[in-house]
């Protein structure tokens, strides 16, 4: 078999990469250490949340698979931040850890042009700085034109519990022991990162009377723009909330030195935003209790995941800790918590397309690039799959800008700023987040997905119809004008809205905080879908703010147009501060905008760089 693209790793990044490449017509091989672990969720049993949920929508808009898969496997769904503005709303679903991988595996197996192979990749075939294929642990060579590495935590993975250190992946499988050394030989900078996961408890041994109920929303939602809710609102599985006790804190403080982290057994750098329970207790001494969410992992088995209780304590201390929690006095631990260390590359060695700067046609995505999270991995996997395909077709890469997608922010941050800890997407990382909403991911990205070739005719037709309906409803609202009749004013007063003295279009009336589209229904000649109405209402109500965000984005886009020549020699740019010189030489930004986002490169350096480029007639 002649493979065009090989994807190494079957996690969330690998699945999206392999599907994108196969769907774009490229003969694709997905190599995984264990087929059972394809699309596995080794940590929290949920998908989405602030920012992350929007990434899932973006994946769907571009033609990826994660949204559809979670729609088919959710136990509970919530829309978060509903009390705030539309820009920060995001979906989060509790996923069934059995169903999700099953649905994804079926999709992969049914995909044309895609072959799955169980094997371990230990080396790469490289000739003249171009990738030629991979070498398996048994020495077998498989040739290809492009390779996408999505190795997750499996590069030299080590599982830690207290002082015990085991060479293994999250489920006790063999990790790849040589691939990261071989990457290092090629010239990649390897860094050691760390993450962790809490213990799993047997559901029947928990006394839920001491916990409060956390149910799903009573409205049905979907992540995908093309699905109807596939679950019954009343049949959702609830989560529960409990708190740590003073006893829990005492056990942890008394045994702090026994944890891998405080005992000094960990080399890797862990994420600040996802601290272990011992970290939380040490850093926030004054806090009397911490929230813990009890989340079901599946309807097919009994494991309950204690969100917020990640630890690297030895097993006997974990027993004590768990038993100190309310309702867990007699709880049985099915799987102990652990910390895991793994190798990752320095993402500064990547282009915006996720192709490595060192080796042509070699791409990387997911945790190997220093991120954490299923959604972040899937977003990168999709982009790597798309861009590897486009490269083979001789087309320009698809690079999403910071004002177009969280995925764009994610990749730009990685390749511009690098990361020293596992990177998690947050809404605050997106400076144009009002433009990057949950509701408009399709309007932002579906045309790109179509152009690339991942959106079917049927889906695209549906999308175009929605766009047209939005336009139509907006212009209708602009055309219909209310006059200050007694009846109109009576109705307005009833809605707590100021009566009219002059005529007003429905469009302008909708800008009032207290007026919603469903209150104007009687004036409209026809009705529209909920989605269309929501979109129109957001666009009109927040028009002023959206315009402001667009103006800010345009300033950035102007700088984005100022390209820096690829062959620039920063040594020739006199008077750059030495830190700026070093950072610019390492990152080699493609535009002035990107250069200005590099930390340590300050405005004076940018001015000097622009003056240099102007002087050299390169700008």
């Amino acid at each position: 078999m002649n493979y065009e693209i090989i994807v190494v790793g079957g996690g969330h990044a690998g699945c999206e990469a392999a599907l994108a490449s196969a769907r774009l017509g490229h003969e694709t091989l997905l190599i995984t250490g264990n087929k059972k672990n394809i699309a596995d969720m080794p940590c929290n049993p949920s998908i989405g949340g602030p920012a992350k949920g929007i990434i899932v929508r973006e994946i769907d808009a571009l033609g990826g698979e994660m949204a559809n898969t979670i729609d088919h496997s959710c136990l509970q769904v919530k829309m978060l931040n509903t009390k705030k503005g539309p820009a920060v709303r995001a979906l989060r679903a509790q996923a069934d850890k059995i169903t999700y991988p099953k649905v994804m595996l079926a999709t992969l197996e049914n995909q044309e042009n895609l072959t799955i192979l169980e094997a371990m990749v230990e080396d790469l075939m490289v000739e003249e700085e171009k990738i030629r294929g991979v070498i398996l642990s048994n020495g077998e060579k498989i040739a290809s034109q492009a390779v996408i590495l999505t190795t997750g935590t499996y590069l030299k993975a080590t599982v830690l519990r207290g002082s015990s250190k085991t060479t293994s992946g999250p489920h006790g499988e063999k990790p790849s022991q040589h691939l990261s050394d071989n990457l290092k030989k090629i010239g990649f900078t390897i860094q050691r990162l760390k993450t962790g996961t809490p213990p799993r408890i047997e559901k029947s041994t928990i006394d839920y009377s001491k916990a409060s109920l956390e149910p799903g929303d009573n409205i049905g939602y979907t992540f995908s723009f093309d699905n109807e809710p596939l679950y019954k609102v009343d049949d959702q599985i609830p989560c529960h909330l409990i708190y740590t006790t003073p006893e829990t804190h005492k056990i942890i403080l008394d045994n702090l030195e026994k944890s891998s982290m405080y005992g000094g057994y960990v080399e890797g750098i862990g994420p600040r935003y996802c601290p272990s329970i011992e970290d939380k207790i040490v850093r926030f001494k004054d806090k009397e209790r911490h929230q813990l969410f009890l989340e079901p992992e599946s309807i097919y088995y009994d494991d309950i995941y204690i969100q917020g209780f990640s630890t690297s304590m030895p097993e006997d201390i974990q027993e004590q800790m768990v038993h100190s929690l309310p309702g867990m006095e007699h709880a049985k631990i099915l799987k102990y918590a652990y910390a895991i260390e793994y190798d990752a590359i320095d993402p500064l060695q990547l282009k915006q397309s996720l192709e490595t700067k060192l080796i042509d046609n070699l791409y990387t995505a997911g945790q190997i690039n220093g991120t954490s999270g299923y959604e972040e991995a899937a977003g990168q996997g999709l982009m790597a799959g798309i861009n590897a395909s486009l490269k083979l077709e001789g087309r320009e890469p698809l690079i999403l800008k910071r004002n177009e997608a969280y995925i764009g922010v994610l990749i730009d941050d990685l390749v511009t700023k690098g990361t020293k800890e596992p990177y998690r997407m947050l809404t605050s990382r997106a400076e144009y987040r009002l433009l990057l909403r949950h509701d408009n991911a399709d309007l932002r990205l579906r045309d790109y997905g179509r152009e690339v070739g991942l959106i079917t005719d049927e889906k695209y037709k549906k999308f175009v119809a929605k766009k047209e309906a939005i336009q139509q409803l907006k212009s209708t609202l602009q055309q219909i004008k209310l006059t200050p009749t007694e009846e109109v004013n009576r109705e307005l007063i009833a809605l707590n809205s100021a009566p009219l003295s002059d005529g007003i279009t429905l469009y302008d009336l909708l800008k009032r905080t207290e007026i919603t589209l469903d209150k104007l229904q009687k004036y409209l000649p026809e009705s529209y879908s909920k989605e269309v109405e929501e979109q129109v209402e957001i666009q009109i109500k927040y028009e002023g703010y959206i315009k402001k965000a667009n103006r800010e984005a345009e300033k950035m886009l102007d700088l984005e147009k100022l390209k820096i020549p690829e062959d620039i020699d920063y040594q020739q740019v006199h008077n750059l501060a030495s830190e700026a010189l070093q950072k610019l030489s390492a990152v080699r930004p493609s535009t002035i905008a990107q250069a200005s986002r590099i930390s340590g490169v300050n405005p004076a350096d940018i001015s000097i760089l622009m003056i240099y480029l102007k002087k050299e007639h390169k700008l």
């Binding site: 602030p50 920012a51 978060l80 931040n81 705030k84 503005g85 539309p86 820009a87 920060v88 806090k287 929230q291 969410f293 947050l426 809404t427 605050s428 400076e431 009002l434 905080t513 927040y542 703010y545 402001k548 965000a549 800010e552 300033k555 102007d558 700088l559 006199h574 008077n575 750059l576 501060a577 200005s596 300050n602 405005p603 004076a604 940018i606 001015s607 000097i608 622009m610 003056i611 102007k614």
Partner: protein, 451 residues
């Protein structure tokens, strides 16, 4: 390498010594050509040498020259500074000679521009030095020096920190909606925080407007009908301060007719051209131009003859001056009072006779009072010292006004936060901590870079 530039770097006409600065790769050889004494191309760096500047055989001045080699100089280029002792005429002659021998006359601020471009100083420092160069009085020099030592940065940084903390507390609710310990930031909680920041910005702007007056002086226009005594006021003001009068016509942008110093602050009498000949400003330059002048001025001195009733013209000018700091001089107090004083809507009214020797004293007192000049001298507060900084601060303030409006309209807090962030970034621009195209635009226009 840059060409060699030269200019008189001390204020014209003030002080006994003038310094000519020459900077660039040919600085040593150019000065050496006209200098008798040691061979300047062959002396150690940062040394001072006595000698004469000669043109052919004619000795122009006895001088001390400082020789400083790159890169440890202000511009990071070779620099020679010539200390001339012979007064303005001979200093000009020395400069002329240097220019004839291969240097080019530096544009205003060009030394600073080179220092900036060669990485010697950053943008904030560059601006402060620009102010230092154009500062004409001791008081304004102090303001400029404060800018240099980082007072501006400190002031703005602490405000930005305050805003940043507010931003963070809003963001945490968004990214961690189920986290119970963070206080839910609602508009009700944001509003007072914003109000407090706005008050501080207001204060800074107010102080800074005063600071600007210290650096650039008070733009003053004297206005009134013919024969009311405008020129006698002007002449008395100028007479009394002859030592510091610099009546150089058409040399500055504001066409300053004359400049006097009151309590250390410059009073720039702007565009009173023609006042000497016809005494008829309004007639000569037309009402439109008078209005424009009033618009630009920091201070309007309206001179009226108290012996005459208010004319339509007077009333018009009175109404235009509503929003300006205005002093009304009711002149000719020796004559019978016919003017309807009660119809003049200002409290700052002076009765005087400017033909008297001490006739303008009450006017000077009034000016000092109006601009709090006494306080201005004694206060030790920090303020922003140039127009770019002040206007960025004003922009930040007006963005925060939008926040207040948003709060009133019950816009969701995460949208309001977008404006708070913009205000934070605006303040960052002052100290060069955020980057936008405007900063570069400003840079290129202020330093006239490019081809």
């Amino acid at each position: 390498m840059n060409d060699t530039i030269a200019a008189i770097s001390t204020a014209q006409g003030v002080g006994a010594i003038s310094i000519i600065r020459v900077s660039g790769s040919d600085a040593f050889s150019i000065v050496n050509k006209v200098f008798t004494g040691k061979d300047l191309t062959n002396v150690p760096s940062h040394t001072i040498h006595y000698g004469k500047i000669v043109d052919q055989t004619e000795v122009i001045d006895e001088v001390l020259v400082s020789v400083m080699k790159a890169p440890k100089t202000f511009t990071r280029e070779d620099i020679v500074e010539i200390n001339c002792h012979g007064g303005i005429a001979s200093t000009n002659k020395v400069l002329e000679l240097i220019l004839r021998n291969g240097a080019r006359l530096a544009e205003a601020g060009e030394f600073t521009k080179r220092a900036f471009l060669n990485g010697r100083i950053d943008l904030t420092e560059a601006e402060s030095i620009m102010d230092l160069i154009s500062s004409k009085t001791e008081a304004s020099r102090k303001v400029a020096i404060k800018g240099l030592t980082g007072h501006i940065s400190h002031l703005i940084r602490s405000l930005r920190q305050e805003i940043l903390e507010l931003l963070a507390s809003i963001e945490v609710n968004i990214d961690y909606p189920e986290y119970e310990d963070a206080v839910e930031m609602t508009n009700d909680k944001v509003a007072p925080a914003i109000q407090s920041i706005k008050t501080k910005l207001h204060h800074i702007i107010e102080e800074s407007e005063n600071g600007r007056i210290l650096t650039s002086g008070i733009k003053t226009v004297i206005i009134g009908k013919p024969n009311v005594g405008k020129s006698s006021i002007l002449n008395r003001l100028l007479d009394e301060d002859k030592a510091i009068v610099t009546a150089i016509e058409g040399t500055t942008r504001d066409t300053v007719e004359g400049q006097i110093t009151i309590k250390g602050v410059a009073l720039n009498l702007i565009d009173t051209a023609g006042i000497h000949e016809t005494e008829d400003l309004v007639e000569k330059i037309g009402v439109d131009k008078s209005l424009r002048l009033i618009e630009e001025a920091d201070l309007v001195i309206l001179v009226l003859n108290q012996n005459e009733k208010l004319s339509a013209e007077d009333r018009k000018i009175l109404s235009v001056c509503q929003n300006k700091k205005t002093i009304v001089v009711l002149n000719k107090s020796d004559l019978e009072k016919r003017i309807e004083e009660e119809e003049i809507p200002y409290s700052e009214i002076i009765h005087t006779n400017t033909l008297d020797e001490n006739g303008v004293e009450p006017l000077k007192e009034k000016i000092s009072e109006l601009f709090h000049l006494e306080q201005l001298q004694s206060q030790d507060d920090s303020y922003l010292s140039n127009i770019r900084q002040i206007s960025l601060t004003k922009e930040a303030l007006s963005i925060l006004e939008e926040v207040t409006v948003g709060v009133q309209q019950e816009v969701p807090v995460d949208m309001i936060e977008i404006d708070i962030k913009r205000a934070w970034e605006k303040l960052g621009e002052i100290i060069g901590e955020t980057y936008t195209e405007e900063l570069i635009d400003q840079l290129f226009s202020q330093f006239c870079l490019g081809k």
